[in-house]
Amino acid sequence: MQDNNEDEYLMLSGIQHFIFCKRQWALIHIEQQWEENVRTVEGQHIHIKADQPLIREKRQNKLIVRALPIKSTELGATGICDVVEFIQNDKGVSVFNSKEKYLPIPIEYKRGKPKKDDSDVLQLTAQAICLEEMLLCAVDTGYIFYNEIKHRVEVPISEENRIRVRKMFKEMHHFFNNNYTPKVRTGTFCKSCSLQHICMPTLMTKQSVSSYIERVLKE
């Protein structure tokens, strides 16, 4: 994904779907099967934040920017950072319209509490990769704020997670380019999947259609 074909950019928020179930991701992002499709969901996301001061808020040594659109050519992905805190730092970079130098720290807001899987962490890592690419600087840490515990958790942006994010987007692009919706091993997680009635997880363990017809006609 080195060209600038921005139409093919995938949504960063898809990481959580992809980790939950690759098929769910494909149904949403390739087949656009969503009661209210993802675009509107992201739209609401922006909307909530846009009610707050959109541009920068300056607090001592910090610039706080909300709903910052980001992208990465390397990942071929695009999305929105809930909040980016730019911390004044001599090793930082100059940002548009300011004299000082800053280092960016992405902060992701989650409604619930910390999850068992690492989809939040990987999403934050992907945001860090985007910010590094757009600002030409290093981002080695970020935060996730969990509303249920009203607490932010510090997350180091590790090399290992960067590799996982890159691998994941590679795989997503591969599916996307081939319009391929994977059949996956279904499981108890299907019970909490909002796309059950479209996916029909039972189909994946089903008899073939030809044997179904043969069997019924013989009865």
């Binding site: 087949e31 656009q32 499709n37 009635h197 259609v209």
Partner: protein, 343 residues
């Protein structure tokens, strides 16, 4: 499986439909005569020439509620379609199949296998439930013929042959149709299908039932992202929902025909529900139409076990389940289209 929501039937021709907040408001001469929350609705059918406000149309399109306008007699006039769900990949795959006779044949065969199999079992059920009221040997004979017909359908090598076998099956089934009418025989009889216009009470009801079924099926296909106008068995014709007609083949007998027959046999309708025009065309009176729609709605809530999915769903969701299964086959998840085989 998704929830089956209600259909709202607007049967007075002189009302106007508007949006108020999250509600549909039915207005008659400036006063509100009804109000229903949109979130309970799956479809709205307006019979007659009532109008609707653009705001309501927009709200329906956004929420995927099908808003359909029909004439008083149930002939389709127009429907509101929102921004397409962007499923061009699925649709292109559908068009590729539709353009190829050999690929179309594979799916079309399954529609017809479903239709003939279900019709055979309608007859088998009659022999079980009413052995003393019907010509048993004739029913058994027709059922055997339909079984032979099924094998021919399975082996059909082109679409023309398939249509031929379907025609033969229809003749066989129609031969005993009249015998399934067990009550009010002097007013309700079936001598053959006629529809433009229907010339007897039974045909008037069949036409109405098929229109409702075609609308439900078309809405289900559009909801899963397929193009209801591009079929595999029915040829393309402007304004014809060919794929909806294809998909409803398996449901005509088992849903619509049985429904109409039960209205007669249970004496829910009677001869006073119909009106004969000067030229012999038969029209249902408004009251009859209301009874019909009410019973139709009740029938849609009845549960059955889906033969392929093995899940309990309501009859009303069957077109939707079949539309999903068809889409899943077109996308390559399933090795074929599994027809709805009822017994």
């Amino acid at each position: 499986m998704r929830k089956l929501l209600n259909s709202l039937f607007i049967t007075s021709p002189d009302v106007y439909l508007t949006l108020n907040g999250e509600n549909i408001v039915v207005k008659k001469e400036e006063s509100d005569i009804g109000r229903v929350p949109l979130h309970n609705l799956e479809s709205i059918y307006a019979f007659g020439y009532s109008g609707a406000s653009p705001a309501l149309m927009g709200a329906c399109a956004e929420r995927n509620i099908s808003l359909v306008f029909l004439t008083k007699n149930g002939r389709f006039l127009a429907k509101v379609i929102g921004e397409s769900r962007g499923n061009v990949i699925l649709r292109k795959a559908q068009y590729r199949i539709s353009d190829s006779d050999s690929l179309s044949l594979l799916i079309a065969k399954h529609f017809i296998i479903g239709k003939v199999y279900n019709n055979k079992w309608i007859l088998e059920r009659m022999t079980r439930d009413y052995p003393l009221r019907i010509d048993l040997s004739m029913f058994k004979e027709v059922s055997r013929e339909l079984s032979k017909n099924l094998i021919e359908i399975k082996n059909a090598t082109d679409l023309e042959l398939l249509r031929g076998y379907e025609g033969q099956a229809a003749i066989l089934y129609n031969k005993v149709f009249d015998q399934m009418i067990l009550q009010q025989k002097e007013d309700f009889f079936f001598k053959g299908r006629n529809r433009r216009p229907p010339m007897d009470n039974v045909n008037a009801m069949l036409s109405f039932a098929y229109t409702l079924l075609a609308n439900d099926t078309a809405a289900a296909l559009e909801a899963v992202g397929l193009d209801a106008y591009v079929g595999f068995l029915h040829r393309d014709r402007p304004g014809r929902v060919s794929l909806a007609l294809d998909l409803m083949e398996e449901l005509r007998g088992v849903f619509a025909d049985r429904f109409v027959i039960s209205l007669i046999n249970k004496k829910i309708v009677n001869k006073n529900d119909f009106f004969v025009k000067e030229n012999g065309a038969v029209i249902m009176i408004d009251e009859a139409r209301k009874k019909f729609l009410k019973a139709w709605q009740d029938k849609k809530q009845e549960k059955i076990k889906h033969p392929f999915l093995g899940e309990k769903i309501s009859w009303g969701l069957v077109p939707y389940a079949q539309a999903i299964l068809l889409a899943r086959h077109i996308r390559g998840d399933l090795d074929g289209y599994p027809p709805f085989l009822w017994k």
